[in-house]
């Protein structure tokens, strides 16, 4: 029983350390990064870190801005909020990407800018 309790505490400790580590790295983009392509149904994102307290500078353009601009902006802002990215310059050029593509490309750009490119070659 004691053994199990011991393991339990170790697990909690590890989990906390992981979360803390995760949170500390996702706050601050380190490098300028990009993802996606200019192909149809795709979107290209460019992200670069800005000095502290600069805020977000978003430049979004899309071939379907009239129809889907609002939801595109919402997706971008929601993801930046999720990753707690505040001081960044983001450029998006969309060629009609669907929501899963927008999210995938932005996630990739964010992780690259955080220097978190696990499982790839830079």
């Amino acid at each position: 029983m004691k053994y199990h309790i011991g393991n339990y505490f170790i697990e909690i400790e590890d989990q906390w350390r992981h979360l803390k580590h995760h949170k500390s790295i996702k706050m601050k983009p380190k490098i300028a990064a990009q993802s996606g392509t200019f192909e149809s149904s795709d979107v290209i994102f460019l992200i670069e870190p800005l000095p502290d307290n600069s805020g977000r500078k978003l430049e979004i353009s899309s071939t379907v801005m009239q129809q889907f601009g609002t939801s595109f902006n919402r997706i971008v802002v929601e993801m930046l909020d999720y990753y707690e990215l505040t001081d960044i310059h983001l450029i998006a050029k969309d060629k009609g990407a669907l929501e899963p593509t927008i999210k995938a490309r932005l996630e990739t750009a964010i992780k690259r800018s955080l220097d978190q490119q696990e499982g790839t070659l830079k």
Binding site: S35, S41, A97, P100, T101, T108, R112, E118, G119, T120
Partner: protein, 283 residues
């Protein structure tokens, strides 16, 4: 089985409408080394949302010896595609190691071990040598495939349209699959503009025992289907054989003749297989 590059959103989102029996979202050779992260994230997101209708979805992950393989499995296994296709499989030990990792991931997500299957790709001379143990030892391996381009590269030969260099490998792989009662899928025909060549190679693949063929372009799907789908004449003949067999069996007759040709158990089994392919039942 249609290969779709894992980093191409336009093709992935249309994957279910090309008419292929299955699509293979490729994280391996179709993705540049510096885009592996992007493709993995894209495929994961697409699989969660896109409706592929009744098209089976398989994902080709990178080999575990690369820096990408484990990360691929961590993202894809929780989504439980119909199958994971594992490239350059060389031994049953390798498959055992892969399955151990897959099952660990499944355990972590509370997923069963019997839903998603594994397709082992045989693309090296060593893989060809060990193909029977790869095909027969694991219940989760339900298909093996041959990768012609990589195999010719491994053998230091040039891939030729007549496929003579990989003919032994093709037949050895087929025999291993047949002995293990699993599917066996032929390699791609790389020249998308040569429709006659594709038809000829597909007819050969069918003749020697392949159960399907991979394609790299939707334009190739119809030809493959035409070749592998039984003709109306074949279906009529098979229907006649099975119907006569049922009538004769009921009368206690095991071997009989149709148009002067002996019909016995192997002929009936072949006829039943044709009807199964054509989705026809004999009342």
């Amino acid at each position: 089985m249609l290969y779709i590059p894992g980093n191409n959103p336009a093709m992935i989102q249309q994957g279910g409408i090309y008419g292929a029996d299955s699509i293979l979202l490729d994280l391996e050779d179709a993705v540049a080394l510096n885009q592996k992260d992007a493709a993995r994230t894209l495929v994961r997101n697409m699989m969660k949302v896109i409706n592929f209708y009744d098209t089976e979805v398989c994902v080709r992950v990178n080999h575990l010896s690369t820096p990408f393989g484990l990360a691929d499995l961590e993202e894809i296994v929780p989504l439980q595609p119909s199958a994971i296709r594992y490239p350059k499989t060389e031994s049953s030990e390798e498959v055992a190691e892969l399955l151990k990792i897959i099952e660990k991931i499944e355990d972590r997500h509370g997923l069963p071990h019997n839903k998603m299957t594994l397709h082992a790709m045989i693309e090296t001379a060593m893989g060809v040598q060990n193909v029977f143990s790869i095909a027969s030892k694991f219940s989760r391996v339900d298909a093996i495939t041959i990768g012609g381009q990589d195999l010719t590269a491994d053998m230091n030969i040039i891939y030729t349209p007549d496929g003579v260099g990989i003919d032994f490998a093709r037949k050895r792989i087929i025999m291993a699959a047949k002995a293990s009662h699993i599917d066996v899928i032929d390699t791609v025909f790389p020249d998308v503009n040569d429709e006659d060549g594709l038809r000829k190679e597909t007819e050969y693949a069918k003749k020697i025992g392949f159960t399907g063929k991979a394609v790299i372009n939707p334009r190739q799907i119809d030809i493959i289907h035409e070749v592998f789908t039984p003709t109306e004449e074949e279906i009529r003949k098979a229907y006649h054989i099975v119907k006569e067999f049922k009538t004769n069996s009921a009368a206690g007759i095991g071997v009989f003749a149709i148009d002067g040709k002996m019909i016995d158990a192997p002929v009936v089994a072949r006829a039943e297989y044709i009807l199964k392919l054509a989705n026809v039942t004999v009342g």
